[in-house]
Amino acid sequence: MSMSQVLEENRVLDEAGQAVALDSLWGQGPLVLALVRHFG
């Protein structure tokens, strides 16, 4: 799966538990996507 596909097909949840499309999170510049181990 290409990075573009990953961004198009995946969603994450905001603080209210609402689903947000990953590809909606950035615009014209680069995106630094950091996945942390956990919230602890």
Partner: protein, 141 residues
Amino acid sequence: MQLHCMEDELEELGARLVVVGNGSPSFIAGFREKSGFTGALYSDPSRVLYRSLQLERGLRSSINGRSMARAVSAFRSGHRQSQVQGDAFQQGGVFVITSKGESTLEYRSQFAGDHPTTSEIRRAVVEAAALSNKGQSYDRT
């Protein structure tokens, strides 16, 4: 490495930092308070994104000699591990992606405490910004 400490620098380079955890979204507020991070913060409790990006998960990557050494080093620096809110066996990663969806950095942590350096991230962002701007210039002609 505390990536959110680079937030201002990343913004100056034209990049946006998005942090994703894997606990319940209800943990986000507490994470903000503890870390001081005010930027974009989301959760992937099902870890579908983690699997899509092929991030490591397992006991061996979480508890081994290297992760213990990093834990001791972090402890000596004053960092304290609080209660885990998410999957304790899941590893993280950092990805720098151009506006076209191409990656200039794909860093998958191999063990707890394994992170890219700030210079690796900075270099990847500069490259991604150049590629993104290149595309925009082309689109305008």
